[in-house]
C-alpha cells in the first residue's frame, strides 16, 4: 500500500517540477518580432514562352486587369493611381527603364523585365507579381513591349558582363571610397552617400519633380538589388533617363568593383525591435546629438509610412525610416532620433520636424490610446521638435546673451509656434517671463545649447493643444550633417503634471510612436510620416538578489535531486518478475 502511495507521490512531484521548469523557461522568452517584408531583387528567370501574337493578346488582357491602374491604359505611366505615387509608374512608351542588364540608353532584355515583375521594386508601389504564373508574366512582358516600337526595331540587346568580381576587402573599399569622390558620385549621392549631394536639389525632371539620388545607406531601398553584383550592374549600365549614367567607359571594370564594394560597405540593414531599451548611465547624459556616448549604444530603426488614417491623407512621405536610441539617468531621459533627409531647408511654414508620442497614462494590459494622435477617451503627449523653431530660438538666445537686457522676444515666438499647428485650441496664453525663465534654465549646466521644445497633448487629430508654459519641460537640440538629422530630445523622468505628461518609470513598457516631417517635401501637420506603437522600457541594473536566488535555487535543486536519488536507491522499485 505504502509503495503505491510513494510511487504516486514521486510521479506527481516529477511532473510538477518538470512542467514548472518549462513554464518558467517558456514564459521567459516571449517572441516579439516584427517582420519587414522588403521586396528583394530575385534573379531567377523561368518558363519563357515564345513571343506570339496570342501571347501578346493574352498579355493585354492581364495588363488591363492588373497593371493599367498605375501604368495607364496606353502604357504611358499615367494610370488613375499615378497622382498618388512617388516615384511615378514606369512610362512604357519611352526608354526610361532603370533596372537593366543592357548598356546605357538601350532597352532592357525580356529577362530584365521578368525579374522586375517577379521581384517588385521596394520603395515604390510595384508589387512582386507572384499571383501571375510565369507564362502570364511573359505574356504581359510581350504586351508591354508593344508600347515602344524600339523593342521591335532594335531586337538585339546585349547584356553587359558582370562576372569576374573580386572579393571585397578593406583595401578595395578604401579604393572605392576614393573613387566615390573622384568619379563625382558625391555630387549627387553626397559625402556619406545619403543622397544629399549638391546637385540633388537642383536637378528636376518633368513636372518639376526632383531627381532624388539614392540614399546609399539604406540597403533595402536599392532598387535593382543590393548585392555587390547588383550595385556593379547599376554602375555599369546606368539608369536610363536619369542623371545616373553608365560608368562603363569612365571607370575600369576593376574600379567599378571597388566602387561597388564601397557602396555595399556604407549600406546597412534595417534593425527593428518592438522594445527599445533605454540604458541607465551614471552621471550626465550626453551633451548633445554628436556626443560620443551615443555611439556606444544600439539603435532601433522603425519603418515609417505616410499618414493615411485621417484626411487630408499623405501618400508620398520622403522619410521611410527613423532610428532611435535612448539613455537615462537619475533625473532625465534622453532620446537620439536620427533620420536621413536630403535637404536642410527650413522656413516658417514648412520645416523639418520630429515628434515623439507617448500615452499620457500607461494603461494596464494592452490598452493604449489610438496610435495616431490618441482618441477622445485616451490622450497622448507629444514632444515636438522643429528645425525652424530651434533656429529662431537659438538666434534669440544669442541676442539675449549679447545685449544682456530684458527683451520680450520669447513672446512672439510662442505665437509663431502656435499658428504652425492647425486645430490648436486655446494655447496662446504665453507669458513672457516664463518663456525667458525656461530659456535661461535651458542654457544652464547639463543641456547646454538646448532649446525648449513644444510639449503638446492630443486626443485625436482635431483636439491638439500646446501645454501651458510652466509645463514645458522638454528640451531638444538638432544637428543636420551630410543628409542626416540627429535630434536629441530630453525630458525629466517624472514631472509635476501627471495628468498631461507621461511619467517614465522603470520596468514598465511605455508605448511610443514617432512622426517625421520633411519641410522640403512640403510636409506639415497631418502631412507626415508616422510609425505605429512600439515600446520603450527603462532598463534596470540587475540587483544582487537575483544571483542569490539563482544560487539558492541551484542548491535546492541539488538537495531535492539527491534526496530523490537517495530515496530511489534506498527503496528501489521492484521490477516485477513477469
Amino acid at each position: 500500500m505504502s509503495k503505491i502511495k510513494y510511487n504516486l507521490f514521486l510521479r506527481s512531484v516529477l511532473i510538477c517540477v518538470i512542467a514548472g521548469v518549462f513554464a518558467i523557461m517558456c514564459l521567459g522568452e516571449g517572441v516579439a518580432q516584427t517582420s519587414q517584408l522588403f521586396r528583394v531583387y530575385k534573379k531567377d528567370v523561368n518558363g519563357k514562352i515564345p513571343e506570339t501574337s496570342d501571347a501578346v493578346a493574352a498579355g493585354k488582357k492581364i495588363y488591363e486587369i492588373k497593371c493599367y491602374y498605375c501604368h495607364g491604359i496606353k502604357g504611358d505611366g499615367n494610370g488613375s493611381d499615378a497622382p498618388r505615387l512617388d516615384p511615378k509608374p514606369r512610362n512604357f512608351t519611352r526608354d526610361e527603364y532603370k533596372i537593366r542588364s543592357t548598356g546605357q540608353g538601350v532597352l532592357p532584355t525580356d529577362e530584365d523585365l521578368f525579374r522586375i515583375i517577379s521581384s517588385g521594386v521596394e520603395g515604390t508601389a510595384m508589387p512582386f507579381w507572384n499571383t501571375l504564373t510565369s507564362a502570364e508574366r511573359w505574356q504581359v512582358i510581350y504586351y508591354i513591349k508593344t508600347f515602344n516600337s524600339e523593342f521591335k526595331e532594335k531586337a538585339e540587346r546585349s547584356e553587359v558582363a558582370i562576372a569576374g568580381g573580386s572579393a571585397s576587402s578593406p583595401d578595395s573599399i578604401k579604393r572605392g571610397q576614393k573613387l566615390f569622390k573622384e568619379a563625382k558620385c558625391i555630387l549627387c549621392h553626397g559625402e556619406d552617400g545619403r543622397g544629399d549631394g549638391a546637385l540633388t536639389t537642383t536637378l528636376k525632371k518633368q513636372w518639376d519633380l526632383p531627381f532624388k539620388a539614392r540614399d546609399l545607406t539604406q540597403s533595402w531601398m536599392f532598387k535593382g538589388g543590393n548585392t555587390k553584383e547588383d550595385i556593379y550592374r547599376t554602375v555599369t549600365t546606368g539608369l536610363n533617363e536619369t542623371p545616373m549614367g553608365s560608368y562603363a567607359d569612365y571607370l575600369t571594370d576593376e574600379d567599378r568593383w571597388h566602387l561597388s564594394h564601397y557602396v555595399k560597405s556604407i549600406s546597412h540593414d534595417m534593425k527593428t525591435d518592438v522594445v527599445l531599451k533605454s540604458k541607465l548611465v551614471d552621471g550626465n547624459l550626453p551633451s548633445g546629438p554628436e556626443d560620443a556616448a551615443w555611439g556606444t549604444i544600439d539603435a532601433v530603426e522603425l519603418p515609417l509610412a505616410g499618414q493615411i488614417v485621417a484626411s487630408p491623407r499623405f501618400w508620398t512621405p520622403s522619410t521611410n525610416s527613423i532610428r532611435i536610441k535612448s539613455l537615462y539617468n537619475g533625473e532625465n531621459i534622453a532620446f537620439l532620433l536620427e533620420w536621413d533627409d536630403r535637404t536642410n531647408e527650413q522656413d516658417e511654414i514648412y520645416s523639418d520636424a520630429v515628434a515623439l508620442q507617448f500615452p499620457t497614462k500607461i494603461y494596464e494590459g494592452q490598452q493604449k490610446p489610438y496610435f495616431a494622435m490618441g482618441d477622445s477617451g485616451k490622450g497622448v503627449e507629444l514632444l515636438h521638435w522643429r528645425a525652424y523653431d530651434e533656429a529662431v530660438l537659438a538666434a534669440q538666445r544669442t541676442e539675449d546673451d549679447g545685449i544682456k537686457t530684458e527683451t520680450d522676444g520669447g513672446d512672439d515666438l510662442e505665437e509663431e509656434e502656435g499658428t504652425d499647428d492647425a486645430g490648436v485650441e486655446g494655447s496662446e496664453a504665453a507669458t513672457e517671463q516664463e518663456v525667458e525663465e525656461v530659456i535661461e534654465e535651458a542654457a544652464k549646466e547639463e543641456f547646454k545649447g538646448f532649446v525648449t521644445i513644444k510639449e503638446m497633448n492630443a486626443k485625436g487629430f482635431k483636439r491638439l493643444s500646446v501645454q501651458p508654459d510652466k509645463s514645458q519641460n522638454s528640451k531638444g537640440k538638432g544637428l543636420w550633417k551630410n543628409g542626416k538629422w540627429q535630434v536629441m530630445i530630453t525630458r525629466p523622468l517624472i514631472t509635476g503634471d501627471k495628468k498631461i505628461d507621461v511619467q517614465f518609470e522603470k520596468g514598465k513598457l511605455i508605448p511610443y510612436a514617432l512622426a517625421v516631417w520633411d519641410g522640403s517635401n512640403s510636409e506639415i501637420k497631418g502631412q507626415k510620416a508616422i510609425s505605429s506603437w512600439y515600446y520603450l522600457t527603462l532598463e534596470m541594473t540587475t540587483p544582487g538578489s537575483v544571483y542569490i536566488y539563482a544560487i539558492v535555487a541551484v542548491f535546492m535543486a541539488i538537495c531535492i535531486q539527491f534526496w530523490v536519488v537517495a530515496r530511489i536507491r534506498r527503496f528501489p522499485t521492484e521490477i516485477p518478475s513477469e
Binding site: V31, P303, I530, Y535, T573, I575, P576
Partner: protein, 257 residues
C-alpha cells in the same frame, strides 16, 4: 541480478522531450513557412510551445507509468550504474544539468528584463446591428451596371487601399511594413472571404477607431473612410476589392422563418 540489462527508458524520455522541443522550436517555423507559403519563418508562440512541452512531458510520464514494470525500469536508471560506463556518464550528465537548468530558469525568470508585450488581434469582431441590416445597393443591379461598379471600385481600391493592402490585395503595399499590425491579406481565404459584404462595409467606413475595445482599435491602422468616401463609393470598393483579391464574400444565410 546484475546480469539484467540496464534500462535506458529515462534517457529515452529525456531524448524524446528534447526532440519534441527541437521540432516545435526549430523545425515547425520552417514547416509552416512552406505550408502557408510565407516568405519568412513562422516562430511558434511561446505559450503554445509551453503547452506542447507540458503535453509531451505528461505523455512520456504517462507512458512510463502505464505498468509497474515500465515505471520500475524508468526509475532504475537512477540506481547505481555498476560497470556500465555509458549509464554512469548519462547519470552524471543528468545530475549536473538539472540543478544548472533550474538555476538558469530562476535567473532568467527573476532578472529584471522586459517581457515582450503580448498582443493579440481578434480577427472578426461581431458586426454591429446597424450594419447588419444594410444591403449593397448594387446587389440586384444588372450585369452591365455591376461590371461598371466593379471597375470603378477597382480604381478606387488602387487609389485608396493599395498603399497598405497592395495592388494584389495581398496586404503587401508599400506602407505595410510600417504598421506592426500588418494590413490584412485579402487573398487569404481566412479574411474577407469569411465575412459578408456588410462586414467589409463596416470596417471600411468606421476603420480601426470603430472597433470594439477587445479588438485593440489603438493598433489598427485602418482609417475610418467615412470622412472622404461616400457609402456608394465604399460599396463599389468592396465589389472591386473582392474581385481584385479573387475571393467571394460569404453569402448571407437564409432568413429564419
Amino acid at each position: 541480478m546484475s546480469k539484467k540489462k540496464n534500462s535506458y527508458s529515462m534517457m529515452m524520455v529525456i531524448v524524446s522531450v528534447l526532440i519534441v522541443f527541437a521540432i516545435i522550436k526549430v523545425i515547425a517555423p520552417y514547416v509552416f513557412m512552406i505550408l502557408l507559403a510565407k516568405d519568412h519563418t513562422m516562430p511558434t508562440p511561446s505559450t503554445l510551445l509551453l503547452w506542447y512541452m507540458i503535453l509531451a512531458i505528461l505523455a512520456c510520464l504517462v507512458y512510463v507509468s502505464t505498468s509497474d514494470l515500465k515505471w520500475a525500469n524508468f526509475l532504475s536508471f537512477i540506481l547505481p550504474a555498476g560497470d556500465d560506463k555509458l549509464k554512469l556518464l548519462f547519470q552524471k550528465m543528468i545530475v549536473i544539468s538539472i540543478p544548472l537548468l533550474v538555476g538558469w530558469f530562476v535567473y532568467s525568470g527573476t532578472v529584471p528584463g522586459t517581457a515582450s508585450p503580448v498582443e493579440l488581434r481578434i480577427q472578426h469582431p461581431t458586426l454591429l446591428q446597424e450594419f447588419e441590416k444594410l444591403e449593397n445597393p448594387f446587389a440586384h443591379a444588372d450585369e452591365a451596371t455591376k461590371r461598371k461598379c466593379i471597375e470603378e471600385g477597382k480604381h478606387l481600391y488602387q487609389q485608396n487601399c493599395r498603399p497598405c493592402h497592395g495592388s494584389k490585395a495581398d496586404g503587401n503595399g508599400p506602407f505595410a511594413n510600417a504598421f506592426r499590425l500588418r494590413p490584412i491579406n485579402f487573398t487569404d481565404p481566412g479574411t474577407i472571404a469569411t465575412v459578408v459584404e456588410n462586414f467589409a462595409f463596416w470596417r471600411i467606413k468606421e476603420g480601426g477607431p470603430g472597433l470594439p475595445a477587445v479588438s485593440t482599435p489603438w493598433d489598427s491602422a485602418m482609417p475610418a473612410w467615412k470622412d472622404v468616401l461616400t457609402d456608394t463609393q465604399i460599396w463599389k470598393i468592396i465589389m472591386g476589392e473582392y474581385v481584385t483579391a479573387g475571393v467571394q464574400a460569404r453569402q448571407r444565410e437564409e432568413m429564419e422563418h
